[in-house]
Each structure stands twice: as structure tokens, then as C-alpha cells.
């Protein structure tokens, strides 16, 4: 809860900071938007997306003191994608930890497919291809 508040104030300061240019300047953002100019409604939606990113990271055991930096490092598009697709996006990591829980059957199947060159689960296998 505290973290979310912290992030909120931080993002708000960023948003204000990037807004201090004169109001009439057309932003580079216009090049990428169908609607050309970012409306205030878009800004509110993106602001909410960043809050959600912070919450999700918090729930997923990310170090609390890193959350602010991690949210700030994302673009608006990345933050929205993060929120919308977090359940399906692949997370590249380590193989061994994941394998510990695997059944012997899967182990054997993957060993064979490794040897056939269809997968590369184990570091020690050499494909016959």
C-alpha cells in the first residue's frame, strides 16, 4: 500500500515534469498516435497502467525498493502491455529449477527430443543432427 502511494507520487512528479514545456508544442508522440495528440484521458489511463504495474510487481515478490525504478524504466506502451498480458508473456529464465518438479516421463521425453535436435533442454545433450 505504501509502495503504491510512493509510486503514485513519483509518477505524478514525472508526469508534471515532462509537461512543463509550453503547452502549444506538438509532441513527437504525435508521430506514433492515430489520434495525433495525447489527450488528458489517455494520460489518466496510462497513469493507472503504471500503478497496476507497480502492484503486479509487488505481488510477484519483486524487491520493493526496485519497483519505482522498474516502473519508470518502461514506456507507456510497455506498461500497458505488461498489465494486459502479464499472464501470457514468456519469462526467460533458468531451466534446471523448472525441471526439478517435472515427472520422469517428461524428463525422458525431453531427453529424447533433445537428442533428436527438436529441443535443447539439457546443456549436456548433443543433437544427432
Amino acid at each position: 500500500m505504501n509502495i503504491s502511494k510512493l509510486i503514485l507520487s513519483f509518477i505524478l512528479s514525472i508526469t508534471l515534469f515532462t509537461q512543463t514545456s509550453w503547452a502549444q508544442i506538438a509532441s513527437t508522440e504525435a508521430l506514433f498516435k492515430q489520434t495525433e495528440i495525447l489527450s488528458s484521458k489517455d494520460r489518466i489511463i496510462q497513469f493507472a497502467a503504471r500503478q497496476d504495474v507497480a502492484k503486479i510487481l509487488e505481488q510477484m515478490d519483486v524487491e520493493p525498493k526496485m519497483i519505482k525504478d522498474r516502473v519508470a524504466a518502461m514506456t507507456d506502451e510497455e506498461a500497458s502491455r505488461f498489465v494486459n498480458e502479464i499472464d501470457t508473456l514468456p519469462a526467460g529464465g533458468d531451466v534446471l529449477g523448472t525441471l526439478v518438479g517435472a515427472a520422469v516421463f517428461i524428463f525422458v521425453v525431453l531427453l529424447i527430443t533433445d537428442i533428436l535436435g527438436l529441443t535443447k533442454v539439457f546443456d549436456f545433450t548433443r543433437s544427432v543432427r
Binding site: 509537461q19 512543463t20 514545456s21 509550453w22 503547452a23 502549444q24 508544442i25 506538438a26 509532441s27 513527437t28 504525435a30 508521430l31 506514433f32 489520434t35 495525433e36 495528440i37 489527450s39 510487481l57 505481488q59 510477484m60 515478490d61 519483486v62 524487491e63 526496485m66 525504478d69 522498474r70 519508470a72 524504466a73 518502461m74 514506456t75 507507456d76 510497455e78 502491455r81 505488461f82 502479464i86 508473456l89 514468456p90 519469462a91 526467460g92 529464465g93 533458468d94 531451466v95 529449477g97 523448472t98 525441471l99 517435472a102 517428461i106 521425453v109 525431453l110 529424447i112 527430443t113 533428436l116 535436435g117 527438436l118 529441443t119 535443447k120 533442454v121 546443456d123 543433437s127 543432427r129
Partner: protein, 305 residues
């Protein structure tokens, strides 16, 4: 079912490349648990650190702390790219083809790929920096897990890679362009740097892009805006004018240039220029109208939003 992937051997694309082999000396880092994204960034960063004037901004601990999602046991592509940017590199996602990958390798740009070492029903996602290829042996070289420059048969590589939709990214110091970049996609990558607080790096990237695409309107506009926001008005003016010399009625550039002139005390010129600006987009037109009003008001008020 197990053998279903073993189709007839297709002719391999490796043969279309001009160069028969490519090997990039990317320093190897032993992977840390669940942190193949962080170690991949670390390896690419130290490669550029060794070969160019680029200096990494983040420590190894910071790379780890910014990329790992403990509950997922790994790193999302989004955060790999965001962390690479925070480390001062431009992140450019390649077109999803083997050809694009080989082309970058040929230009000595190492590529981080996402592979699924298992199957879609048992995914084992892994990031690896690709460090070269060898046409004669039909292999792709990568720092794969704890094995530096592992040579993987290209058929196997293609299988593991296509499971991620052939996802690959080059991380480059801001003055460097991907061999396979399109102007629009590159501009996007450079603008992502600007949006995440690295405007100086973005300016370097825009300027390099202009060397390859000197008349690209969008890049000129982005560069001029970036200078404007850095309060470098002389440089900003130069690039707005250059843009307008190519496309004299570009409404956004006319608006921004007249705003700049107004702000730097050249009200008459500002008025002459804003009069040329017209748009049938109502949002742009309302910005133009506001600028015009500002100029009529004497360019004296410090405006806020």
C-alpha cells in the same frame, strides 16, 4: 508425435549470406540463477564497453534487481528492453527472420534471442546472446547457459527460436544503427530512450539516424523537438527549418517553430510562420490556434498547462 518436427531437410538460409562465417568476441559471463536476461545484457554491455566509448550505467547487482520477477522465475522481454535502455543502450527488436539475425551478426552486432528450449506445452524460456554463425558447419554460435560460444545446429536453433516468434533484439550504443533497421522502427526505439529519461542519448541516436536517412521528416521532427525540450533553441530551429525546407507546410513543425520564435523574442517571424499552418485534424488545429493566440498576446506570458 515426438518425431513430428523431423520433416524433410529444408535448404538452409545460411547459404544466402555474403560472408561465410561471423564470430563476435563477446565476453562470457557465467549465468546466475534465473538471471539469463541480466547476464545477457551484461555480456552485450561489456562487449560494447570493450569495443567503443560506451560505458555501462548499471552495476551487475542493479541489472539483476531490475530484471528478475521471482514469482515468474525469469524476466519479461519488456523488462529486458527497459533495463537495457536504463543501462544506456538503444534496444531495437529485429524483424523476426533468420536473415535479419545473420545480417546483424555479419555487422558485428551481437543479438539476444529468446528461445523455448522445451515445447509450447512445457515451455522452458531462455535468453541467449548470439555471437556468430558458421555457414560451412551450418551452426549458430551463442553463449548458451554455461557454455560460451556453443555451436548449435541451425535446424535445432530454428525450432527453439520459432517458438518465441523469432524474437531477437540488438542492444547498441546510441551512436550505432542496426544493420537491418527501418527508419520508423528505429525512430521508435530512439524515442523510447527519450521517453524514459535519456534525452541526450536519444539525440545522439536521432543524429545517427539522419546520417542514414537525411531527409526523413519524422526523424527531423523528433530531433528538433528533443533539442527544443533541452532548451537548445538554435539547434532546434535549425532542424525545424531543415524539415520545412523539405515539407514546407508540415503543420506540426510550423507550429513548433513559430512557438520557438515567439519564445526567443521574434514575434513578427513567428506570426508569419504560424499563418501558414493549417490542419484538418481538429486537435492539431486547436494547438495551432492556441499558438497563434499566444503570439497575438505578445509572447510575453510564461505559459503553463
Amino acid at each position: 508425435m515426438i518425431l513430428s518436427g523431423c520433416g524433410p531437410k529444408e535448404p538452409l538460409v545460411l547459404s544466402t549470406q555474403r560472408v561465410t562465417s561471423s564470430s563476435i568476441s563477446v565476453p562470457f559471463v557465467t549465468p546466475r540463477s534465473d538471471l539469463c536476461a541480466a547476464t545477457s545484457i551484461e555480456m552485450i554491455s561489456s562487449y560494447w564497453h570493450a569495443t567503443t566509448s560506451y560505458t555501462p550505467r548499471l552495476s551487475q547487482e542493479e541489472l539483476d534487481a531490475r530484471t528478475l520477477i521471482p514469482a515468474k522465475g525469469g524476466t519479461l522481454q519488456i523488462e529486458l528492453m527497459a533495463t537495457a535502455r536504463a543501462n544506456g543502450l538503444l534496444a531495437y527488436t529485429l524483424a523476426p527472420t533468420l536473415d535479419a539475425l545473420l545480417h546483424e551478426l555479419e555487422k558485428q552486432h551481437p543479438v539476444i534471442v529468446l528461445l523455448n528450449r522445451g515445447y509450447s506445452w512445457y515451455p522452458l524460456w531462455h535468453y541467449a546472446p548470439v555471437t556468430g554463425y558458421n555457414k560451412k558447419d551450418q551452426t549458430i554460435l551463442m553463449h548458451f547457459s554455461d557454455r560460451p560460444n556453443e555451436a548449435m545446429n541451425v535446424a535445432t536453433f530454428k525450432r527453439l527460436w520459432e517458438r518465441s516468434g523469432n524474437w531477437g533484439v540488438v542492444l547498441l550504443p546510441p551512436g550505432y544503427l542496426p544493420a537491418t533497421a527501418s527508419s520508423k522502427a528505429f525512430l521508435r526505439s530512439a524515442y523510447d530512450l527519450e521517453k524514459t529519461g535519456m534525452r541526450d542519448n536519444a539525440i545522439i541516436a536521432y543524429r545517427s539516424a539522419l546520417q542514414r536517412w537525411p531527409k526523413d521528416i519524422d526523424i527531423l521532427f523528433a530531433l528538433a523537438n528533443a533539442y527544443y525540450h533541452s532548451n537548445k533553441f538554435t539547434a532546434a530551429e535549425k532542424y525545424y527549418r531543415k524539415l520545412l525546407s523539405i515539407e514546407p507546410l508540415h503543420p506540426l513543425a510550423l507550429n513548433n517553430l513559430s512557438d520557438l520564435l515567439c519564445r526567443t523574442g521574434r514575434r513578427k517571424q513567428a506570426m508569419a510562420i504560424i499563418k501558414k499552418a493549417v490542419s484538418n485534424n481538429s486537435e492539431i488545429q486547436s494547438i495551432i490556434n492556441a499558438t497563434q493566440k499566444e503570439i497575438l498576446g505578445g509572447c510575453t506570458l510564461q505559459r503553463t498547462h
